[in-house]
Subunit: 313 residues, 2 copies
């Protein structure tokens, strides 16, 4: 029996870690957004995959929300002195990931194969799949023009107003075959959409050919966890995007994005009052403690979600 988790970066990685701890080895497959990937300094950077990999390997910097714990920064200091582009921080240890992945990609190996090998070397029990082996690149449309996601997110600190989000290359990108297999597997127990940004973490995954439809017709418990708690995002620009794209800045606003896709929408106790409106969308609303401050929180939330799935969500 497997749990299929759809995830972006930090929030997704937290729940994926909880599920990893709550399940036995190999029971969780995490499909990770690659729309945030970009080429920087000639290196292929895959921020969401790295966050999930580092988190599940116990190597993540938990305070920072990205990169590795105990990281050093000699590379960035030297890069600045040489006149290199220094707006995107790459830690010294983290660079090993980008350099070795870039070298292997240039040698013709698929991102999924590299990711699987690295996860195995780091002793990760869950299966981590990039959503696709073909490039999909999230573009933020703003009044100042189109911006590649990391330029908007990191370089411009989410400043420019978001008019729309699009995913360059998504028509040509195929969902990873192993992702499709996991969706169709007879052993699939439940689908879990992690508390990730619906517009830039989950939408690219759902936008791959056939995925949205496959999930709509899936006869398994389908659950999503709200990344918005009490009207604010736990991390990242989800609240700003909800507002600027004309949605309610609330768990309800997120629930509306998933209408028809999930059977159960999980909100935090702070949002219990939204339950009637969420259930009016045609989904159950489960109220749990969704804020994951430590590993015990993550595992507790994961077990509660598994219990919902067990009971048919």
């Amino acid at each position: 029996m497997t749990i299929l988790t759809l995830a972006g970066g930090v929030g997704g990685a937290k729940l994926a870690l909880g599920l990893d701890r709550a399940l036995t080895a190999g029971e969780q497959t995490v499909v990770v957004n690659t729309g945030d990937d970009f080429e920087h300094l000639g290196l292929h950077i895959a921020p969401d995959i790295d966050t999930v990999v580092y988190t599940l390997a116990g190597l993540a910097n938990r305070e920072q929300g990205w990169g590795r714990q105990g990281e050093s920064w000699a590379f960035m200091a030297a890069l600045g002195a040489l006149g290199g582009e220094a707006w995107f921080n790459l830690g010294d240890g983290d660079l090993a990931m980008h350099v070795t992945r870039t070298e292997r990609l240039r040698g013709g190996e698929a991102l999924s194969s590299i990711t699987a090998d690295i996860a195995a070397r780091l002793g990760i029990a869950s299966r981590i799949l990039p959503m696709s082996d073909q490039p999909v690149r999230t573009v933020i449309e703003t009044p100042e023009g189109d911006l590649a996601f990391q330029h908007w997110f990191v370089r411009d600190r989410c400043g420019p107003t978001v008019r729309a989000v699009r995913f360059a290359g998504i028509e040509a990108a195929a969902p990873l075959p192993a992702f499709l297999d996991a969706l169709r597997a007879s052993g699939l127990k439940a689908l879990v959409i992690a508390p990730s940004n619906p517009f830039v973490s989950i939408a690219p995954i759902l936008g791959l050919a056939g995925i949205d439809t496959a999930i709509r017709v899936l006869r398994r418990p389908r659950l999503a966890v709200s990344p918005i708690v009490g009207g604010a995002a736990i991390k990242g620009p989800a609240a700003k995007m909800l507002a600027e794209l004309g949605h309610d800045v609330s768990a309800l606003g997120v629930a509306r994005c998933y209408a028809g896709l999930v059977d159960t929408f999980v909100v935090d106790g702070a949002d219990a009052g939204l339950k009637p409106e969420i259930e009016a969308l045609g989904m159950r609303c489960a109220v749990l403690d969704t804020v994951m401050r430590n590993d015990a929180d993550k595992e507790r939330l994961a077990r509660a979600i598994l219990a919902l799935a067990e009971n048919g969500a």
Copy 2:
């Protein structure tokens, strides 16, 4: 008036630093071997250029003889855990050089342009020129087969016997135009062959089309400093190569390599006894303290060499 120095790695960088200190800004042009360059982990590594750049910028690790002082090694530790090729040590700060240079080369910029920009950013007063903008790759022919230079030198620790040395690509590589200009400049005061390995540091420079001939007919003082002192190399495999390639393992053996190319051959006091045999080759033999233990030694040797040049070598 300019001094044109031909250099490889450590020994060449030491004398280049001495000349840099003894001359005024811009008076020294250092032409550096690129035969040791190689692609590793998808990065373009130029060990001799880096040693000269780091040395002249005051950033070199003097004990180690390569890389940067105060270097950290988080990248290598992480690379090993990810299964990357870890036989060639790349320090965290050093990586900035390789990453930014590789990115700029891929973008179409010439190695000479990148090197000049980086030298300027690091405040280096001498001009540093790669011998060519086209790739030349030193190959060590051994009983175990042909080995790329860094594989023989670093990975195999100079173990396999050297049967011959060749320079792949040298016919197609043009000497850097600025190198030719410096050789022909009316302001050229002297040519100095640094105490570098004659077979793998100086031979590739001399092997570029027209260079050997241009030096043979050059009507300026031409000096070379022996990298062999008392029958041993100060650093690196020069002595082993002399022996295995059938030469005398001595300053005399090196002097024979430069017969017809230099007017004056500089040996250390330890080798004063070789003077008659060296002068029998048709060159003067100057005896100086050539072992450079510290910056004062480097500048003293440089000033002594400049004095020889001043007196017509």
